[in-house]
Symmetry: C2
Subunit: 465 residues, 2 copies
Amino acid sequence: MQNDDHDTAQGRRPLRFALFTTNSPSGFPGSPWSQPLARDHDYRSLDSWMDLARKLEAARFDTIFWADHSGVYDTYEGSRDATVRQAVQFPINDPSALVSALATVTEHLGFAFSANVIQEPPFSFARRVATLDHLTKGRVAWNIVTSFQMSAWRNVGHETVAGHAERYARAADYVDVVYKLLEGSWEDRAVVRDLTTGIYADPSAIHSIDHVGEFYSSAGPAVTEPSPQRLPVLFQAGSSSDGRAFAARNAEAIFIGAKNPRGAASVIDDMRARVRDEGRHSDDLLVFQQLSCIVGRTEEEAKAKAEELRASINDEANLAYTSATMGLDLSAVDLDTPIGQLDTDAMQGKLRALAEAAPDKAWTFREVVSTLTAPQVVGTGEQIADYVEAYAAVGVTGMNVAFLNGLGELEDFTRYAVPELQRRGLMQTEYLPGTLREKWSGSPRVNERHPAASYRRIAAEIGHS
Amino acid sequence: MQNDDHDTAQGRRPLRFALFTTNSPSGFPGSPWSQPLARDHDYRSLDSWMDLARKLEAARFDTIFWADHSGVYDTYEGSRDATVRQAVQFPINDPSALVSALATVTEHLGFAFSANVIQEPPFSFARRVATLDHLTKGRVAWNIVTSFQMSAWRNVGHETVAGHAERYARAADYVDVVYKLLEGSWEDRAVVRDLTTGIYADPSAIHSIDHVGEFYSSAGPAVTEPSPQRLPVLFQAGSSSDGRAFAARNAEAIFIGAKNPRGAASVIDDMRARVRDEGRHSDDLLVFQQLSCIVGRTEEEAKAKAEELRASINDEANLAYTSATMGLDLSAVDLDTPIGQLDTDAMQGKLRALAEAAPDKAWTFREVVSTLTAPQVVGTGEQIADYVEAYAAVGVTGMNVAFLNGLGELEDFTRYAVPELQRRGLMQTEYLPGTLREKWSGSPRVNERHPAASYRRIAAEIGHS
């Protein structure tokens, strides 16, 4: 998914930059909502979000990215109490509701959000995401999530959470419906919009999908006409074997949380092989490494801010989050136990990557927990750029930037890190034209190697000349 | 739901004004999308919608109202072809996706949209509508819809549409979940937001709902903190006996489509009795009569515009819509048959009201069909005001204004009808402060007689002092 038109003077394709956040009081799980640089952002307020979106576009970020879930972390101490007290991604509002408002104050910024496959039928999701793609003129991305939270499943009527393999089977069925509706049910020639005859669309070019899957059924056609991208840009973040298989087939971009460039290289090698096995090209997949950082004019300034963060972190918040994502109540565990014996397939996202990257798996639970809200880089703009450069060298093509000390950190990041990243050709100085997918890959729609492309109707194939 | 602070110099409470439209090429079903006053509004464009929202607020409309459905009308000739050709509410984008964008350019305008109880689980809907209520500072209203469309049910995985009684049983279960989540699961004291201690919320004031209903189950609590209105203002439009019973219990406002003030009076009498039987006050329910109109500086000017509309109407569009809403393929019926013999309970919304209002039920199908896209008033601002005044006299408290010749008609409505309506005290000249519900009833939350109020937790009742 490379766009070669964007090479800089250094002959380098800039990395894509996403800002990681959530639609909740604290942008990052475990990061205190009440810190000085966090508290000015009111997640309930459009003004706060519009201000952030304007600043991100001024700094030439490619996209905002909202992580999301629809339950509550309730593993630690067998209750949700710590989560509620510390606002660990709870409360959490629907991020997709922000998109159209933020499109009114930006022209290029992308809007990527997580949505899990249990929160609504794929038909309803496809309709909403297509609507947003119309309204934003093609700036929407979807991070496909299979929820691991018991509470999220119980909120929408299931008795319990499905097992890991079933969750990915559900996700595969879900995206199949979305692909058929948005890529398959309306041919390119369907919309006529003829003012003279009053004909809006041609019925012969709009098709039912009659999908009957193991988990989801849908008659179709989509009730939305084709939007600029048809499908949102597709992200996925699963790091388990099932997750990687799903991403290799479906994703156009993945989020990873490697501990070092070597760890990233190993994921990238594995994913490139998997992507090729799916009949896709290895560069059909962008890789966004997490970059949690604190920046200062000097290293000392950055370290002082990091110390403020460290002092304000509440262990309870971290334990609540880690327990839920590990599926293990850490109030009942000696935190000095090495995690090596754990079944990593049962662990989620970043923790799993951390566990796998830990040498000899000798890390203790305490180390894993404290790593979660420890920034990966604390330093000057040059030091941030060095970090990014090291990841770029092993094939990372995007950064998912997280500010653990609050969204207010964007100001110093923009002041000290962005100019240096741009000077080195690691970050764009101007946006490319077109939709988010065009900016990233040069093509408005998923390419012909993506599984969704197989649902495109070619007029000749279905009996139209 | 009366707010007496708003009486005008004439001693009259102004009526509330909604603008009826849909998020589709033609604002009104059967009304041609390609008419001169319709074609400038591009439903896929934020600019078009923002322009409309600003104009509505300048004219002091209370709310925009998007009717909605999530299928395609496919009864006529046993296919969707006519619907597709004429764009009869197809394509149709998700109206809720527009709300946050339009909140950025308005301060008072309400955002009412239809959402049916099959398109997503009540938990996910509650989360989204609460998010929108936060972002708009309490300007959201929900028109509760039980979809009668086979195609809509089949789009979200059902094999067929449920019967009328089951649909309302579903709706009752659905709203129960929404009430428990948004009124019941977070006590008023739950959010602490203490910057000193870092405590965001008090776990003892947040409760699971553990709803297990016939159709929907949800564990809760809501993942959203209480929004300004907690519940959106609740609309309902069902005119069948089941629909009226549901509205009497749950609605704060209803839409009616009476043929004349006498017909409206009869609905209002019936609804007032039903509302009282539910233990509510008869003025707990606002009644919005549909007002489809064409306005001119002179009557001749208005009539010329109506003639243009009449000439551009395509019978196929009307037949497609009427067939679907009647559940009867009108291509197989002699249009000159009187409709008297039909079971009106099987008919939907406006048609049913028309059928019931028809003297001796001697109306023919042809007359019913042509009435659908015939404006109720064509004339000067004075004539519009006379019409509104006649409905106000029988107890109608709101108008749901539809422009059959396109949203561009708003300009003449604002120029010729609004000043006269305001002069007579029938339309507000300034907005009241507060949320939409406060503007309309003086109270930010549903009143104590509403069934949702029974789920409110009183601290004393549950063991907190």
